[in-house]
Amino acid sequence: MIDLTVSFNHIKLKNPIILASGVWDLPYTEIVDFNKLGGVVYKGISLKPREGNPTPRITETPCGVINSIGLANKGVENFNKEVLPLLKKFDTAIFVNIFGESIEDFSRISEKISDVSGIEVNISCPNVKKGGVSFGRDPKTAYAITKAVCKNTSLPVIVKLTPAASNIVEIAQACLDGGASAVTACNTYQGLVIDIESKKPLFDKVVGGVSGPAIKPQALYKVYQISEGVEIPVIGSGGITNYKDVLEYLIAGAKSIQLGSVIFNNPLAPMEIIDNIIKYMNEKGYRNLKDIRECIDE
């Protein structure tokens, strides 16, 4: 019997596959059976609703996408009343990604969240004027936000890091010091698209966040660096499109992984990946995820 369960710092998952924040909402439950997923992270919510950036908000890049959504969301009250009750029907770990423009915002929003498996703190969005990447680049701010959130909740706190930090290991350490149960590495990479007709940046806010297979080796390296350097569980995220990518992340040190943009290309990818991991483990005779990391084939 294959055991896919993952457990770290009070976070328990039936398998390591988590649906990342920002790529799905409730209608996606029509396409994919959430009961089969290890967990889901609901899209970045703020204290008050945010309308997001002007369009266009998305375009393709070679082997991926770049977005400038700007954390459009209906706010924490809407999440608690309209979204959470529907998500609770599924047998999966529910996490919620939170965003604030100040440390106080993060404190206040974390107080309002309960009855979930954990909070993912977004200090890494590249598409907002205040907060986001600017918080995630500075170890002192990362520490202060993590500490403020942990003080206001008894739930496990995961901090989602930005690859734009000059030393991501230092940021992960700051999050650990602040009380985080895990880090997600990492959010999108900052990028630019120019419209050659208008001779201007395509996005109103100029910068966008690059995701998809284009960033997989880079994000994987961040996961490896953090896993080697800091005693904090890492949730790997960035460009995963198939089970082999998941294996790479697990071997690099990730405890679990998140799937994001791949569901735009193939909405059934989470199911296919879980099935293929089981098939792979059966073929190799592995019993659990530890075997994937530790057994080297002759």
Binding site: V23, P27, E51, T59, N67, I263, N265
Partner: protein
């Protein structure tokens, strides 16, 4: 309820400047409604990475059709899918429209596709239809056969569909009107039809990520807030839509 499937293409033919793809699907007919669309992509391919939102042209018991206009690499690849090959299909998506029995349709270019599908749900009406060249005015005869009065115009001969509407503004009085075409045409039209915009509805096109309300990419400003084309649309009241 939407589903995601890999479905076979059973026909690929050129229609005017477009490519018509017929996809075999026996279930779509019972669930697709006027106003719906599908996300379309190539199986086993990450290039292009995103699926493309495309309106239905027609849906019958055994299949549905979509019309492709080659605009870039993605639509070019889709237009080259041969009979016997397959497509990724996510749908039906969007908010269904309750079409009136009788009304006005205004189409610019490939904007004819969803309006052709809409005409199937109506008993009669008037179509105003413009394109660059006379030979680009595809499906006008078929819509005539459905009991519609058809007025066409081409830029090579006389002008645009906006010119045609300004000559026939009184036709719009008291009628529900539906518009689909390039955004520049829709903006111009909004400018000339004045009060009639209150009874006019527009099909909005946006770049999309997921088609399922998740990524919040396909925003359109309606009054003072953003709505999503994939969930709240693609059809919106023209007077409520704020263009950039």
């Amino acid at each position: 309820m939407a589903s995601f499937q890999i479905l076979p293409v059973i026909e690929n033919r050129v229609v005017g400047p477009y490519t018509l793809l017929r996809v075999e699907d026996k279930k779509m007919h019972s669930i697709a409604k006027c106003g719906h669309f599908v996300m379309v992509g190539l199986p086993d391919s990450m290039d292009p990475f995103l699926l493309r939102p495309i309106s239905f042209l027609s849906v019958d018991e055994k299949s549905f059709t979509i019309l492709i206009k080659v605009k870039g690499k993605g639509t070019e690849k889709l237009s080259k899918v041969k009979e016997g090959e397959s497509l990724k299909i996510l749908g039906p998506l969007g908010k269904a429209l309750e079409p009136p029995e009788n009304g006005i349709l205004i189409a610019g270019g490939i904007g004819i596709a969803p309006l052709y599908y809409q005409s199937e749900w109506m008993k009669s009406g008037v179509l105003f239809y413009g394109a660059k060249r006379e030979k680009d005015l595809v499906f006008k005869e078929e819509i005539k056969d459905r009991g519609f009065i058809v007025n066409t115009i081409s830029e090579e001969k006389r002008g645009t569909v906006v010119d045609l509407i300004s000559e026939n503004l009184n036709f719009l009085k008291g009628k529900k009107t539906f518009v689909c075409g390039p955004e520049s045409m829709i903006k111009e039209l909004k400018g000339i039809i004045g009060d009639y915009a209150k009874d006019t509805f527009v099909y909005i096109e946006r770049r999309m990520g997921c088609g399922l309300g998740g990524c919040k990419s396909c925003a359109v400003k309606v009054y003072f807030e953003y709505k999503l084309v994939c969930q709240d649309g693609p059809i919106f009241p023209l007077h409520e839509v704020k263009f950039d």
